[in-house]
């Protein structure tokens, strides 16, 4: 049966605004969805990676002799076996595929083993003799710039200054503080994995879990010394990402082993290796000074922000720009002086994680707003509302916010929600400490905290940010069906569902097949910066429009709504590919940080209610409510899923999540010691979703994924402060910070 567009616009199910089931949902609940770690190939061998035990050391010698003797070992490779360039990186090519004469962080890849069983590979790795001369690591981000240079250009990766208005302002009231943010891990559940298959043309096919196929392809081809068309990537099932898959992990390594042994090679990190195998959220030290009038209007903000990039740059430069440009938060401030620095150290490399620089700044500026409110004796929400930016406000970069910025409204929404009752029954499960039976209510104090945050959406600073989409329609079995193809990575967020919804709405075709994402089509851009619904969604919408133009021509003057589309298409195949860009941005002025650097801004606000056992320092988050503007909820269920999941990660940073390092060494690379929220830690959420369309964006959408991660953390900490009266200037807040022992 075929339908006309007029009928379809009202009758086709699962278009935009609905919440149809995910096309991969059934496979995922049946255990039949093929994640990268599930791949299998006849005759495949296993690859593994020997890593540096030292944060900083010179490699004196590497002896492979004994490893090569282990039965079942097919190859043992070092930097000498890298066929092309041994250096790669997202912004700076500063990271070796395999270490040459120095290792700059604990966990840096030194050698590779290919063997018939993972255990064989492990045994062979233990027989590789690497002699190190251990060096004194650089670990303090605040002094790193003047410490031993770890790279030829020194240890400053990037400095972004922001200068706006009066640079010597004075104010009635001044509050200042030093804040710290610990190193958070993305902790996606699906470990880094992939399968590299050597091809008959001398190239390689790589099946991989990643966030950006084309940027991987370029880096892998460069390291292998091959043209792009010899390195073909196909996305396999991705078990979460959150920024941690923007950089290469095992991509080049697996391809090297496959090309060397002429066998398919599977690599799967275990959880410990995963902690060493991807970048983390930058730890930060943030010095802030806020000046305000007696009635709470901000006069100026001054900040010095340090972000620890670790051993290699990754995306540190862009993280620095975000922390700087979003450094005062969603507030109107006429006079701003910010200096934000990203540094090299011998700590684990840091790069992208959900929130990307805005999280670190958000904890500091929201802590400052609470401090200001307290000093003035004002309500913390009132102080925020008095300074809240609106559409038309000017950012510290001089950029005018040209679509909805409902900051005050979001704050009011969370403030006006009914409060959860104080538990009157003695149910241990509702107590801090839970069934550990640490309290029956004695020493438990309730606190309430608020926060609001701002995040840029899409890539910034003049980056040519686009996506490519191909849409094809044809008649199969008498029914008009559509197929959509991009290289934009589905990592769990539901892009595949959104693509189907857009095609249904634009073409009125019920059955929409999403082709596997791969590099046979043009760049889809990164699944990051909350950008895929906006940019790849925009590309799919534009490709559908191109298909519609073709259909209109076929219709020869008849309205499409008046023809039977299946009849119209007949035996033809209509196949259109479109590259779609969002509006251009500009670089920041390197001296003043001025410029229209961002595409769009997203906002979310949270209210946290906590119960704190002040004697033991245990925190139970009782409720975590959120209000967020999403422009247009193309899939309301998925929007809520993003807000809930993002808020949970913010809660994690507030009270439990930190990769702890001592002298550059990671102390807790496991889920036993690096804790993420469980279902017992995550409270119920009441969520308000605003849909204030952005006229510049396809369907008016506003990026959803990151804003809730930003305001969740400071709201929870504000609530703990309210319960305890403590300053709490560092996240995660640990029990000993509360008990002060």
């Amino acid at each position: 049966m075929s339908l006309t567009p007029a009928e379809l616009s009202s009758s086709v199910a699962g278009g935009i605004g609905a919440s149809p089931q995910r096309p991969d949902g059934n496979l995922k609940v049946r255990g039949e969805f093929a994640y990268a770690s599930d791949l299998w190939h006849e005759d495949m061998i296993w690859g593994s990676t020997l890593r540096s035990p030292h944060p900083y050391a010179r490699i004196v010698s590497i002896d492979l002799t004994e490893a090569l003797k282990v039965p079942g070992v097919h190859a043992v490779l070092t930097h000498q076996d890298v066929p092309g360039s041994n250096l790669y990186g997202l912004e700076h090519k500063d990271q070796p595929v395999l270490a040459v004469d120095v290792v700059r962080y604990q966990g840096e890849a030194v050698a590779l083993v290919g063997a018939d069983h993972p255990e064989t590979a492990t045994r062979a790795m233990k027989r590789i003799k690497v002699e190190y001369e251990v060096l004194e690591p650089v670990v303090d981000m605040e002094t790193a710039a003047d410490d031993t240079p770890l790279h030829p250009g020194g240890n400053l990766v990037r400095h972004v200054p922001i200068r706006r208005g009066d640079q010597s302002p004075t104010a009635d009231v001044v509050v200042s503080g030093r804040y710290e943010v610990g190193m958070q891990d993305q902790a996606f559940l699906g470990p880094e994995s992939g399968l590299a298959v050597p091809a008959e043309d001398g190239g390689v096919d790589l099946y991989i879990a990643t966030q950006w196929l084309h940027v991987d392809q370029g880096q892998v081809a460069s390291a292998l010394g091959m043209p792009l068309d010899k390195v073909r990537l196909t996305l396999s099932g991705v078990g979460g990402a959150f920024g941690g898959r923007e950089d290469l992990s095992m991509q080049v390594h697996a391809c090297m082993l496959a090309l060397h042994t002429r066998k398919p090679v599977k690599m799967v990190y275990n959880r410990e290796e995963s902690f060493y195998g991807h970048v983390h959220r930058h730890p930060a030290v943030l010095h802030y000074e806020h000046g305000a009038t007696r009635d709470g209007k901000l006069v100026y903000v001054k900040a010095r922000i340090f972000l620890d990039g670790g051993a290699y740059a990754s995306s540190t430069g862009a993280v620095v720009a975000n922390a700087a440009t979003l450094g005062v938060g969603p507030y109107e401030v006429d006079n701003v002086t910010i200096d934000c620095y990203g540094l090299y150290t011998n700590n684990p490399p840091c790069g992208a994680m959900r929130g990307f620089g805005a999280v670190q700044a958000g904890f500091a500026y929201e802590s400052q707003m609470d401090k200001l409110a307290e000093k003035l004796g004002l309500d913390p929400v009132d102080v925020r509302i008095a300074n809240a930016m609106t559409e038309g406000s000017v950012m510290p970069t001089g950029q005018v916010v040209d679509s909805a910025a409902p900051v005050a409204q979001l704050l009011k929404l969370v403030k006006d929600k009914p409060l959860p009752p104080v538990s009157t029954t003695l149910d241990l499960r509702s107590m801090p400490g839970g069934v550990s039976n640490t309290t029956h209510g004695e020493g438990v104090v309730r606190g309430i905290g608020y926060a609001v945050g701002i995040k840029n959406v899409c890539f910034s600073e003049g980056y040519d940010d686009y996506s490519t989409a191909r849409v094809r329609v044809q008649v199969i079995g008498g029914e008009l069906v559509a197929l959509a193809h991009t290289a934009a990575c589905e990592v769990g967020q539901g892009l595949v569902t959104i693509m189907q919804q857009i095609v249904r709405t634009e073409l009125g075709v019920q059955r929409v097949t999403i082709l596997p994402m791969d590099t046979s089509i043009g760049n889809g851009g990164s699944t990051s910066a909350s950008r895929q619904t906006y940019v790849t969604g925009g590309a799919v919408k534009a490709a559908c429009a191109a298909v519609r133009d073709k259909l209109t021509k076929l219709a020869g003057g008849r309205e499409l709504s008046e023809v039977d589309l299946a009849d119209l298409v007949g035996d033809d195949v209509i196949d259109e590919t479109v590259e779609w860009r969002h509006r251009a941005t500009e670089p920041l002025d390197p001296e003043t940080g001025q410029g229209n650097a961002h595409v769009q801004y997203g906002f979310a606000a949270h209210r946290a209610v906590v119960d704190v056992d002040v004697e033991l320092g245990l925190v139970k988050v009782v409720e975590l409510d959120c209000a967020q503007d999403v422009g247009n909820a193309l899939n309301p269920q998925a929007v809520l899923g993003q807000i809930q999941g993002g808020s949970a990660q913010g809660l994690g940073l507030a009270v439990m999540e930190e990769i702890q390092t001592v002298g550059g060494k990671v102390r807790n690379p496991s889920f036993t010691d690096y804790l993420i929220p469980t279902v017992l830690d995550m409270p119920p959420m009441s969520i308000d979703v605003l849909e204030l369309a952005d006229p510049n964006a396809p369907y008016g959408v506003r990026g959803v994924g990151e804003p809730p991660t930003i305001s969740s953390t400071p709201a929870v900490v504000a609530a703990i402060r309210a319960a305890t009266g403590l300053a709490l200037t560092r996240v995660p807040v640990r029990p000993e910070h509360i008990t002060q022992t």
């Binding site: 609940v29 255990g31 699906g190 078990g239 979460g240 499960r429 809520l640 017992l680 119920p684």
Partner: protein, 153 residues
Amino acid sequence: MRVNVTVNGEQRQADDVWEGESLLFVLRERLGLPGSKNACEQGECGSCTVYLDDVPVCACLVAAGQVQDREVRTVEGLADGDRLDPVQEAFVEAGAVQCGFCTPGLVVAAHDLLERVPQPSDPEIREALAGNLCRCTGYEKILDAVRLAAARR
């Protein structure tokens, strides 16, 4: 060594198993059942939860040799042909699946809960799923899914 085990009602045999291998490895790499997931391989995340003689266990913590002549039921064994188990159906409908890597373990854990406690309270659901980590959803829609599956019983 050789391991004989009943998996999802079928008698299976795995050869050349190294003594140090886990049940999880045997299921995933030797028996073609990668549904049980390998997120931590130390019993913290619950992604590899399977029934061993009707008791849910982390397959990563069970040595392959321990399952000799016993019965294992994995996430692949819950659906009845094309018909999903009600728990699986509820997970899809409620939006409890994002990346889905935790889903097989959570589906088995929720299935076990509802077998034992057909109408669980919220605190009971939370306790039953406390051993299963999810990084995408914030758990809200997983709770919705379990409530939905319970309501349909």
